[in-house]
């Protein structure tokens, strides 16, 4: 066995030293190299251009007579005869260490802040390995974000993957930053870290997050991986993998609670489509490759908790829905993998509601196990269910009012309108720096229900009504 390993190491070294002069073909982000030694699938390759600068890439297809590789740093200015290819004999790895916190890296994990590369504790394949389902620990710890629409209605749980579905011009960055600032466990304690992966976002977005972390004094707890809008698009495919590999080290080797913010998943998916198209693959919906689901799952499933290890990875991916269309393949496939979604609503934002969290399509799948007695409050599950049910009726009443006019509404319907107003303007709406505790959130929820008659409340028990419900008149101008 040991002899085998030595022979293998030697073989790799020899192969890594070999250089191939001249490329066969360059097609978008892909390069084709002819007649190489046997190259492994997903092996790391370095393409050296005529000036002697190296660019990293990965093998996508390998056969006896042709190797296809994608070049992360773009193929601009490469020439067919003048370029050299060097295979590394191993997949792309990244060195991870606690010392990466407080630093800024590029999309491939190299320092971007001018500092030296930190000495790595461990190097691992950026593609990660699937967690054995029996090794997982089911997440059930309530994270208080201080945001009523989330804590009360779509509770975030430690180890959850909860994306924000947004649109261009909506305040998803503000919301993500607010969550990152305010998120804490009720019993406090334990060490936390934030890993931030930017894929194809603008410089000022990256700057916004940096400033927000700086102002709240946590910048030394944050590792930033930036592949910005003007970086080569193919690099984006690796950026979240590099970030998640570092996050896994922090969480599962060092026992930290890591929040991973990834933005913008739409750019990631588009880079994937670019490669797929260049390879001439058969597309499924909207030109995206058939394996988009599996590919996204490889990222999103790298979250959660592992039995017997103290740390956790909570993912907060942000994606802008093209044309605000939730049935577009990117949000659609994401929603099938993640444990719920926070959907931002343009018309609510237009009415001045911040955070404009759409009441009905938003969902947290892990909420059921993280709320209630001993975790938040005993009546929380039923209160949330009642708010959802009543709020869904508000939509119907608003539609009706649009047809027959508000004045013609029956008294009960009018009370639903008042409830809807209060719910959006007082329960959901809060300031960008307002940190509401869960008690205040639940109290506001009951205040909203106070606007409805008791016999409309069928999702709460008689005891709940006796304990919390007080009938109220709508305030003028509320």
């Amino acid at each position: 066995m040991a002899a085998d390993a030595r022979a293998e190491a030697l073989r790799r070294e020899l192969a890594a030293g070999r250089e191939y002069l001249g490329l066969e073909r360059i097609d978008g982000p892909l390069v084709f190299i002819k007649r190489t030694h046997p190259v492994g699938y997903r092996e790391l390759v370095e393409i050296v251009d005529a000036e002697g600068r190296g660019r990293l890439g990965m093998v996508l297809d390998t056969s006896e007579d042709m190797v296809v590789a994608q070049v992360f740093e773009g193929t601009q200015a490469l020439t067919l005869p003048g370029s050299k290819a060097r295979f590394r004999g191993e997949p792309l790895t990244v060195g991870a260490t606690r010392r990466m916190l407080g630093r800024t890296f590029d999309g491939l994990g190299r320092p971007r802040d001018g500092g030296p590369a930190p000495l790595a504790d461990s190097r691992s394949d950026v593609n990660g390995r699937p967690v054995n389902p029996v090794a997982r620990e089911y997440p059930r710890d309530f994270i208080q974000t201080g945001i009523s629409a989330i804590d009360g209605m779509n509770t975030l749980i430690r180890g959850q993957k909860l994306p924000i579905f947004s649109g261009n011009g909506l305040p998803h960055n503000e919301l993500a930053a607010q969550i990152a600032r305010q998120a804490r466990l009720r019993d406090g304690g334990s060490e936390f870290a934030v890993v931030f992966a930017a894929m194809g976002v603008k410089h000022d977005v990256a700057r916004f997050f940096e400033r927000s972390f700086e102002e709240s004094g946590v910048l030394d707890k944050v590792a930033l991986f930036l592949s910005l809008a003007d970086d080569p698009s193919i690099e984006r495919i690796v950026t979240p993998r590099v970030a998640l590999t570092v996050a896994e080290h922090l969480a599962f080797d060092l026992g930290m609670h890591v929040l991973v913010v990834m933005t913008d998943m739409a750019n990631y998916c588009e880079a994937l489509r670019e490669i797929s198209t260049a390879r001439g693959e058969i597309p499924s919906r909207k030109g995206f490759p058939g394996y988009l689901y599996s590919d996204l799952a490889e990222l999103y499933e790298r979250s959660g908790m592992i039995r017997g290890r103290p740390g956790s990875i909570t993912q907060l991916p942000i994606l802008t829905m093209p044309n605000d269309d939730i049935s577009h393949p990117i949000p659609d496939l994401t929603g099938y993998i993640t444990e719920g979604q926070i959907v931002l609503d343009r018309s609510m934002y237009g009415r001045g509601v911040y955070p404009p969290v759409a009441g009905l399509p938003s969902l947290s799948r892990l909420m059921k196990d993280g709320i209630g007695e001993g975790m938040t409050r005993e009546d929380h599950p039923r209160l949330a269910a009642q708010l959802f049910a009543s709020y869904s009726k508000v939509k119907d009443v608003r539609d009706l009012a649009a047809v027959i006019g508000e004045d013609e509404l029956a008294p009960l319907d009018r009370r639903y309108l008042e409830f809807g107003e209060f719910f959006e303007k007082r329960f959901v709406t809060q300031a960008r720096d307002e940190d509401r505790d869960i008690e205040r959130t639940l109290e506001l929820g009951w205040e909203a229900l106070g606007l409805l008659p008791a016999d409309e409340l069928r999702r709460v028990t008689e005891d709940d009504i006796a304990a919390h419900w007080v009938e109220r008149e709508a305030e003028e101008g509320a």
Binding site: S63, R129, P130, N132, A297, R365, A385, S392, L400
Partner: protein
């Protein structure tokens, strides 16, 4: 590992994701199980052409290079069948995940393997036949207590018949030990508790039996409105967040099957963990034993290799058929068949096949059909009765039911539980739409219901279904003019339907009483809503108003019956009904005769 027939069959020529092309192949068999490369990754031959073989690999192929060896095992991709399956969690190609964790750690690496059935474990075998007996395929040779509630029956394999020439004495045996020897026409056959079966071949059985007994799920909307029969097939389509998995879990927990095979196919890791942590704690209302003692889990989560996802549903079907042959009623949950279809699409694309609709291969429909056809209520080879019911979740992109997987599935299943986005948004669970769903079994299981809960059930159910239909039309009108503009008799229809939804159709999966409702209680609850409807509409004719009727205190009792009245407490139902009658009597009294 099986070594019989193992031989080098060629070398790797090309690697493209999970699809590997081998060259220099002359004696590979179609669908043969092979080991690829130095890491000995598990693969299956899916295409042969000249000296080339296309192999689909069930593990991550990172690092595999051209020139590496390909070894054939001489047998098709098979499952191991025998005691020790129940209560175990496997991946898509039947690798036991607990054992992999014990040897390989928290993450799944490449080339890891462990036998599906624990070779070290001893089982207590009791013979059922004596030496000299005639043995036919499917006969019970002996029994093993597999779990406290599953008696494992060791069957004569489908190709073994003759005279029993030796039988093991009662005692402890490993799964590979011989327990019987049968003198067959072609010589002696040694039979062990463990057998192998290729996953893509349905196990033989006798004739198909009609599906007349419902698979009682304890879920009211299912049992009363859209029943599933034992041996039946049903699809659960729904966009993300509409509660497919929740519905599957609820059925897996509470249905009256003897065994559950739960296939998590391309879904979330945490959902499997949820099943793993929750099922052992839950108690079956019929046997009082832990639910894990009747459950086999197959977990191929979305981040695990895509080709193993393709195999996982067949693995599940083969295990289910094995227990069916013992005379058990087995329910297979496949969550989600769309991920399985997508795996087909991905592999097809990598092989550069010509696509049909939306990139799916042209054989999608036949594959779906052959999977669902493995369900059925059967006479077993041994002469008993067993069934396999298949409950398949479908995840249509964008929640659009016109996409190929939903459409093709619809052709081959006989019941359809359509999940509704609006209901899910209002947190009405299970969000099975009473308008878009259907069940062709409803008529077939009617005699069973009438015998079990009384002849009035058929009429009650029909009346309620009629009311729900009527409500749709009324709601359309109400949307235009406001419900105030409708006459009280019509507003009362809407009110009764809304009560029915809250008091009957909605079911809380987390409430200890509400999560399971017996057929008897379902019939009582339905009767209660209809009592309110029948008496109420008479009262309206006599002059009572709609508002008075909805204000009745007794209405709250109907709503709370689902969690406030325990199973078997029919007196409580009598009391609520009497209170309701009295209240309406009083109301009518106010309006004089």
């Amino acid at each position: 590992m099986e070594v019989r027939g193992a031989r080098a069959i060629g070398r790797v020529r090309r690697v493209n994701g999970p699809v590997v092309e081998a060259a220099g192949v002359d004696d590979a068999r179609m669908l043969e199980l092979v080991r690829v490369g130095e890491a000995a990754l598990v693969g299956e031959v899916i295409k042969l052409s000249g000296d080339r073989a296309i192999i689909q690999v069930y593990e991550d192929t990172t690092g595999v290079r051209p020139g590496e060896p390909v070894v054939g095992t001489g047998m098709p991709l098979s499952v191991e069948l025998g005691p020790g399956l129940v209560g175990t969690i496997y991946d898509g190609i039947q690798r036991p995940l607990e054992a992999l964790r014990a040897t390989g750690g928290d993450f799944i690496g490449r080339g890891m393997s462990a036998p599906a059935l624990d070779r070290g474990k001893r089982w207590h075998f009791t013979p059922s036949l004596a030496v000299g007996a005639d043995v036919a395929p499917g006969d019970i040779l002996g029994t093993v207590p597999e779990t406290a509630r599953v008696e494992h029956r060791v069957l004569a394999p489908p190709d073994v018949s003759g005279r029993l020439s030796w039988m093991a004495a009662e005692g402890e045996y490993g799964v590979e030990d011989a327990v019987a020897v049968v003198e067959t026409a072609s010589g002696e056959r040694r039979v062990a508790m463990m057998q192998r079966w290729p996953i893509r071949t349905p196990r033989p059985a006798g004739r198909r039996l009609p599906a007349t007994v419902p698979l009682v799920t304890g879920q009211r909307v299912v049992d009363t409105l859209f029943p599933l029969a034992r041996g039946g097939t049903v699809a659960i389509p729904g966009g993300f967040g509409t509660g497919k998995t929740m519905t599957q879990h609820a059925v897996a927990k509470w249905c009256d099957a003897d065994l559950i095979v739960y296939v998590g196919c391309g879904e979330r890791g945490n959902e499997m963990t949820d099943v793993l942590t929750e099922f052992p704690k839950l108690v079956d209302p019929r046997t009082g034993r832990s639910l894990m003692e009747r459950t086999i889990l197959i977990a191929n989560t979305s981040n695990m290799p895509v080709s193993a996802r393709e195999a996982s549903v067949y693995t599940g079907a083969a295990l289910a058929e094995y227990y069916r042959d013992m005379g058990y009623h087995v329910a297979v949950m496949a969550d989600s068949t769309s991920r399985w279809a997508e795996a087909l699409r991905e592999l097809s694309g990598r092989m550069e096949e010509m696509p049909a609709e939306q990139g799916f291969p042209a054989y999608l429909a036949t594959r779906i059909a052959s999977f669902y056809e493995r369900a059925g209520s059967m006479e077993t080879l041994g002469g008993g009765e067993g069934s396999v019911s298949i409950i398949g979740a479908v995840s249509p992109p964008g929640g659009d039911f016109s996409e190929p997987v939903t459409q093709h599935t619809r052709r081959f299943v006989r019941a359809f539980w359509a999940l509704d986005r609006q209901l899910a948004n209002a947190r009405h669970y299970p969000s099975i739409s009473w308008l878009d769903s259907y069940s062709e079994y409803a008529d077939e299981v009617r005699p069973w219901w009438e015998e079990r809960v009384g002849p009035e059930w058929t009429a009650d159910r029909a009346e309620m279904v009629g009311l729900l239909r009527k409500e749709v039309r009324l709601l359309q009108v109400a949307k235009l003019v406001g419900s105030d503009a409708l006459p009280d008799s019509q507003r009362f229809v809407i009110e009764v339907c809304s009560l029915f939804k809250d008091a009957f159709l909605r079911q809380d999966a987390f409430d200890e009483v509400d999560r399971y409702t017996s057929p008897e209680k379902q019939a009582r609850m339905l009767a209660l809503v209809l009592l309110y409807w029948r008496r109420g509409s008479l009262a309206i004719k006599k002059g009572a108003t709609f508002v008075e009727l909805r204000r009745l205190k007794a209405v709250r009792d109907i709503v709370s019956a689902r969690y406030a009245i325990a199973e078997g407490d029919s007196k409580a139902f009598d009391r609520v009904a009497a209170r309701l009658e009295r209240a309406i009597d009083d109301l009518e009294g106010d309006y004089g005769r």
